[in-house]
């Protein structure tokens, strides 16, 4: 495979940023132009991310590829030579995440075209968010990493607050305050690492070469884990997630559950595992414990929900629990499973939210017992929903299976009891999903929903993109596994085989 051009990575987050700036200059009445432009822009982003994923050279022994650096702030004050650089580069994990973002943003943009209220402002904020997400995945400098991480959080408030539905102000404020509070911990951790390393540089590669004191690592790792874990909806810090998801507009839910939550887990890998391996090894069982608690708690809570979106929200918490479970094993296979799960869950949950949004726009109702017989009324919708649901409960041949298999193997290697609990969680997941299917799709067609139409063409297109990704990962996972496992072996040397 050929080398990745670093300029491509830079342009990956410049495209959405410049698109946002360009959109600001477009008059808001030019609706069709805005739709065309965002379609083009998101398609370019998708192609770029796909190209980056495909051209990633997984046989290489370098940890990062496509490194490209522009010196930004150097040699002033405490900041030494090359202190802050705009430095990009990716490993296999980031490549997978970038592809995920590309897929979700393409699908999200397409379904957002039906928005009528201030569509221009919506896309400006959405693209700023996407710029932050792409940047965080690609950045190799702690300063810019944190800057773009915060940039990804910032537009959420307005996106949910203005375009959201039920209890949007409360949900938006709660989400914003909790996520920013989490970022304080990351901020402190970055400062402590920078001060401890005494290099005067925020370069991640350089900082990773330092051999930090074991006690220091044990002290700082929880800061990163909790800070990033808040965004990843780790168990005691997940409170924002159901409300936030329930009130967010469709595209934002998709992007948020699909990509932003993965940013949290990605942060734990990038900062926690790669900079502080001993701390990660020390806290691994703790992470695992929180992961299994989250998985069980999310699944049991989802069992009780009748609101479709809340159910999906809790199911997300449960699936993110698997991710932390996999990370906590601290084995190559477990971490690979976690990354695969991040990708699988991202695509799957985006499809879920897309479908729920398509439904809600027509019926303004999300209560599961209210529906019945939808399989005859909305066949296409139901097929997509079943695909997403089956992927979620880990049916072989779909994306969820591959990921969960990896995680379970890793967990059984380390702690068989927790592995048993994880399998129990999978069973509960199957219970609530199958129960929902039987309620909603079968039985008599309620006359209340006579006016319901099946999905529009735009929704079908974007759902197809997501569903294809699910099938692809489920049937032929080796492109992902090759890239991810190699990077983990190189990047996290302490991880057990």
């Amino acid at each position: 495979m050929n080398e990745i051009d670093g300029m491509l990575l830079v342009s990956l987050f410049l495209i959405p940023l410049l698109s946002a700036v360009f959109l600001m200059l477009v008059p808001s009445r030019e609706r069709s132009f805005i739709i065309g432009f965002t379609g083009l822009s998101s398609f370019v982003m998708f192609i770029f991310s796909l190209y980056i994923f495909l051209s990633y050279d997984f046989s290489s022994t370098d940890q990062f590829q496509g490194i490209f650096a522009i010196p930004w702030v150097s040699d002033i004050g405490i900041i030494g030579l090359n202190g802050i650089q705009l430095k990009v580069g990716i490993d296999g994990i980031a490549a997978a995440m970038i592809l995920l973002t590309g897929i979700v943003i393409l699908a999200g943009t397409i379904v957002s075209w039906k928005i009528t209220y201030r569509i221009k402002d919506f896309f400006i904020l959405l693209y700023i968010l996407v710029a932050g997400v792409f940047g965080t995945f690609a950045m190799l400098d702690l300063f810019f990493w944190f800057l773009l991480y915060e940039t990804a959080l910032l537009p959420m408030y307005l996106l949910i607050g203005v375009w959201g539905s039920t209890r949007k102000e409360y949900g938006a404020m709660k989400l914003m305050m909790m996520l920013v509070a989490g970022s304080i911990l990351i901020f402190s951790a970055i400062f402590m690492i920078f001060t401890e390393a005494q290099l005067g540089s925020f370069d991640l590669e350089l900082l990773a070469t330092v051999d930090y004191n074991r006690n220091f690592q044990i002290l700082v790792f929880p800061l990163i884990a909790i800070g990033c874990g808040t965004l990843g909806a780790m168990f005691p810090f997940h409170a924002w997630s159901p409300d936030g998801h329930a009130s967010a507009p469709t595209a934002v839910s998709m992007l948020h559950a699909g990509v932003l939550m993965k940013l949290g887990a990605f942060g734990i890998i990038r900062l926690g595992f790669q900079l502080l391996p001993e701390g990660a090894a020390y806290w691994g069982p703790g992470l695992m414990f929180l992961g299994i608690v989250a998985a069980l708690y999310g699944a049991v809570s989802a069992l009780k929900q009748t609101d479709l979106k809340l159910m999906t929200g809790f199911s997300s918490i449960s699936h993110m629990g698997y991710v932390f479970l996999g990370l906590g094993t601290y084995t190559v296979i477990g971490i690979s499973g976690a990354v695969l799960q991040m990708f699988a869950h991202g695509v799957m949950t985006a499809l879920f939210f897309l479908l729920i949004g398509a439904m809600y726009d027509q019926s303004h109702n999300r209560d599961i017992p209210n529906f019945s017989g939808l399989a005859t009324k909305m066949p296409v919708w139901s097929i997509f929903f079943v695909i997403a649901g089956l992927a979620s409960l880990g049916l072989p041949g779909l994306s969820g299976f591959v990921a969960e298999l990896h995680i379970f193997i890793g967990v059984f290697q380390a702690y068989p009891i927790i592995g048993g609990l994880a399998v129990l969680t999978a069973a509960i997941t199957a219970t609530y999903l199958l129960r929902m299917f039987s309620t909603m799709f079968f039985g008599p067609v309620s006359s209340k929903w006579d006016k319901l139409n099946d999905m529009t063409y735009l929704e079908r297109v974007s759902a197809t993109i997501l569903a294809l990704s699910i099938l692809f990962l489920g049937l032929w996972p080796s492109p992902w596994i090759d890239r991810i496992a190699d990077s983990i072996q190189i990047g996290i040397p302490g991880a057990l085989m």
Partner: protein, 482 residues
């Protein structure tokens, strides 16, 4: 010894402009000049002063041993002159509408700026004190200049009385420090303090307590902040803007000179006081701001909180923290001025209740204004891509480097809490519709309003993305102290 009077040309130009304005105002009927000429003159004067100060960068000379013209002075000269310039450009329509004695008003703003510069440039206690009073007196009078507004008079009275108490406390502290060091000249004080047992420790301690309390009054640091919200609310909004930018900047500049110069030798005695002041200011300022319904009071408490972050720089005093603080100060001033100018522009057209509710639905009626206000507020809260993030990052990093992680953790927590009340304003602008028709539905900004607000907006973004040139200038200015 010949003194080079060219070195104080910026101040002279400001003062002469002020005098010219007073003269033209007094004889406006005879000379037939309109009200439009005063803001023009003020802008020209401040720009001239900024230009002259720019030309005087690189000098390092002391006039009469009491007035130092070096890069730190130049930095503050440029800063204060530009603040005045932007403020007048952005607010002259407002002033024209609300303020009757317009000539005196611009004269007062110019003298206040001179006072601020003198505070930073003076390297002798008397000069410093006269500069401080020049600034304070101008603002006492300026805050009373809404002749028909009852709030304005009350605010001014409270300001005069509490400002007088603050001055008296400050003076008592200065007298004790004078008694301890036996000189009012910074150079001699520094030498005497460095010489060990030559000074009187008890007097010094008492002096430092009173000095910092007195300056705390001027800075509105907690627990000396009680005047700030009332005065901010009652004073005309441009004066409020001046209070929260220039007057704060000048006191911080004075602290740079005083704590980084003569009192550096006795850092162990004043450090605990500054830590206490800074922590209290951050915590209480931000916590009280949450409950405010009045936008000017909220911004008053927010600027109290922001002062806490600046005071942190003196905790672990080194050239790094001071340069970072100076850098942060410039970012903070640009941001705060941006918000205030946007608010002034808003109230030029709308009825001034100063309530947060006034801004309901602004994003529909006036998207540009809503955008710059939210950019400013996000920058104050330290959100990325804007000045607040980068400058705070550098400042906090410098303080952590000096071993005060715990205080930075408090500061970051507080700046998150501040995000909560800034979001209240943003919520009003974006999330709600203007159902009660509080604001005039559509209007166009005048060119001067566009110039002031968009230049500051670009500056805030520029500092946030690429602040290196500003930091280098700040560092070069701070280096004259070390």
């Amino acid at each position: 010894m010949m003194n080079n009077y060219f070195l104080i040309l910026p101040e002279i130009s400001l003062l002469l402009t002020g005098m010219l304005i007073l003269f033209l105002d007094a004889f406006s009927k005879e000379l037939g000049v309109g009200r439009k000429i005063f803001p023009m003159l003020a802008i020209i004067g401040s720009l001239l002063s900024a230009l002259l100060s720019f030309l005087l960068i690189g000098n390092n000379e002391t006039l009469f041993d009491i007035y130092k013209v070096d890069d730190l002075t130049a930095y503050f000269r440029i800063l204060l002159s530009l603040i005045l310039c932007f403020l007048v450009i952005g607010s002259h329509e407002y002033n024209d509408k609300k303020i009757t004695h317009i000539g005196e008003y611009y004269f007062l703003l110019l003298t206040a700026t001179v006072g601020g510069i003198v505070m930073v440039a003076g390297v002798e206690l008397i000069t410093m004190y006269v500069g401080l009073e020049l600034l304070s007196f101008s603002l006492y009078v300026a805050s009373s200049s809404l002749i028909n507004d009852k709030q304005s008079g009350e605010a001014s009275l409270k300001y005069v009385l509490i400002g007088g108490v603050g001055s008296a406390i400050l003076l008592f502290g200065l007298s004790m420090i004078y008694g301890s060091a036996q000189s009012t000249f910074y150079n001699d004080i520094a030498i005497n303090f460095l010489n060990g047992d030559f000074f009187n420790l008890e007097f010094l301690l008492v002096g430092l307590i009173f000095l910092i309390a007195g300056l705390g009054f001027k800075l509105s640091a907690v627990p000396f902040h009680m005047w700030a919200p009332d005065v901010y609310q009652g004073a005309p909004t441009p004066v409020t803007a001046f209070l929260s930018t220039s007057s704060k900047a000048a006191v911080i500049g004075l602290l740079f000179r005083l704590l980084g110069g003569p009192l550096l030798g006795v850092i162990e005695y004043w450090q605990p006081l500054i830590i206490l002041l800074s922590v209290l200011t951050m915590i209480i300022g931000n916590l009280i701001a949450i409950q405010q319904k009045n936008i000017k009071r909220m911004l008053a408490y927010s600027s109290v909180g922001q002062i806490g972050y600046l005071l942190m720089a003196f905790v672990g005093l080194s050239s790094y923290t001071l340069s970072a603080a100076l850098f942060h100060l410039s970012g903070y001033l640009a941001t705060n001025l941006l918000i205030f100018i946007a608010i002034i522009i808003f109230y030029t057209k709308n009825k001034e209740n100063s309530l947060i509710n006034d801004f309901k639905g602004l994003a529909n009626n006036q998207p540009f204004l809503a955008l710059i206000i939210s950019a400013g507020l996000f920058s104050l809260a330290g959100m990325p891509l804007l000045a607040g993030f980068f400058t705070k990052f550098i400042l906090f990093q410098a303080i952590v480097q000096n071993g005060f992680l715990w205080i930075v953790v408090i500061a970051v927590t507080m700046s998150t809490i501040s995000l909560y009340y800034y979001l209240q304003i943003i919520k009003q602008m974006y999330l709600f519709e203007d159902n009660d028709n509080n604001c005039v539905s559509k209007w166009n900004l005048t060119p001067s309003q566009y110039i002031a607000s968009s230049l500051l907006f670009l500056l805030v973004i520029f500092i946030g993305i690429y602040g290196t040139p500003f930091y280098s200038f700040a560092e070069q200015s701070i280096m004259v102290l070390f």
